[in-house]
Symmetry: C2
Subunit: 226 residues, 2 copies
Amino acid sequence: MTRISPLAQATGSDADGGFAVDVRTVLLSVIDGGLKVAALPDADGWQLPRGVPLPSLPLDAAARMLLAETTGLQEDYLEQLYTLHVRDGDAWIILISYLAIIAAGTGSPGTEATWIDTRSVGFSEVDRMVLDYAIVRLQAKLGYTTIAFHLMPERFTLTELQDVYETVLAMALDKRNFRRRILAANMLEQLDETRRDGSHRPARLYRFRADHDPRAFLTPQWADGV
Amino acid sequence: MTRISPLAQATGSDADGGFAVDVRTVLLSVIDGGLKVAALPDADGWQLPRGVPLPSLPLDAAARMLLAETTGLQEDYLEQLYTLHVRDGDAWIILISYLAIIAAGTGSPGTEATWIDTRSVGFSEVDRMVLDYAIVRLQAKLGYTTIAFHLMPERFTLTELQDVYETVLAMALDKRNFRRRILAANMLEQLDETRRDGSHRPARLYRFRADHDPRAFLTPQWADGV
DNA sequence: CCAAAAGTGTTCTCGATACACCCATGT
DNA sequence: ACATGGGTGTATCGAGAACACTTTTGG
């Protein structure tokens, strides 16, 4: 293996010592009509759930474990975002970021963690960039994957689904066009049940079709742990 | 920072020692009508250029340096692909992969490295996966970015540009539709010159417009080294 | 009968595709 | 004159966007 010269020999923290590695996960959910991120309290604000991965477990397993330990939640979807190299005090760390998604109503984050609105959360500059990138990725994937599946309960109405799309995309959508596109995409299965909700016509219930792989395109087919 | 428990304390190669990190770069170019990858000889075949990054330099700088050292070439475009966690003998390494692009005719790789056709190169399983993912990314980006810019010399004909698209996409394209789309995309600037090439009508020369950012979408706006 | 959300169709525009012939040059 | 690659236009189709009224229920 090539040792990148000339500086590698001169530093004390290269391959001899190894690198400091930090996994951070952006856990998103749509709650109370807002896009929320799971955050932990911090000296002056909030921070993303983070941790040092185990050397012999795949990185995505580390992302899952750290979510379990900091929030007590088990995500429904996980994908790697990007790897940064950032300054941490006077050292440098390699920061591997993940996007995780959990359906609303699956439970509240544990002791320390809280759901905070993504628009107002007080993160460090790095955490803010990672969060913004996670949101952009999620928005893009709504368009060409079934990733929205992981934001919904098992059964839902088309209006509820549209509300989630509108919250994540931060824009209003036309009801008729939305329904036509969603149904044409063949992701959904219509149920026989309806839900009575208030003093108006009941809504038909749907669920996502079982035979659908919601991972696609941006994420390589092979995952970690090869 | 959360130490992911319980195993982290039990192992000897966690944050105390740090992680083994390996940067690998897929350097692609279109040469002699084929999509080629820069490869280095290996015990039983070929391998991607690789190296251990410097701890205090951004990761993309490490990818650039390792290309310079192994191939002597300076890439025209670089973007991070994905971070894997792979077994290396009995240890695990964190493998950060990059996609790099260089224009044809910029020079031949140095002493050890060679351009090998991507379809037939004898890589390890991991290098093969990284290469395949790099190609998929490049193919996708041809469609919605000006990344093709980096595969072309400064001035070129529309037929040369179409040949590069066809090589990367591994499919034939309709000449009239290709020209209409490319010109409609407003990436190109028509030059006054033409090029006489053989016993046929000379071709008009084009170049890419200066005011174009070829990075977009999949790569976050912020790079490494924050 | 009224309020409130559910549900439904048509028109238009634009981008993508399929497809075949004339043009300028060198030999 | 002919061989060779350069260059052009039109018809069709499908996806996406704009847009308003009827239906069903509870109170």
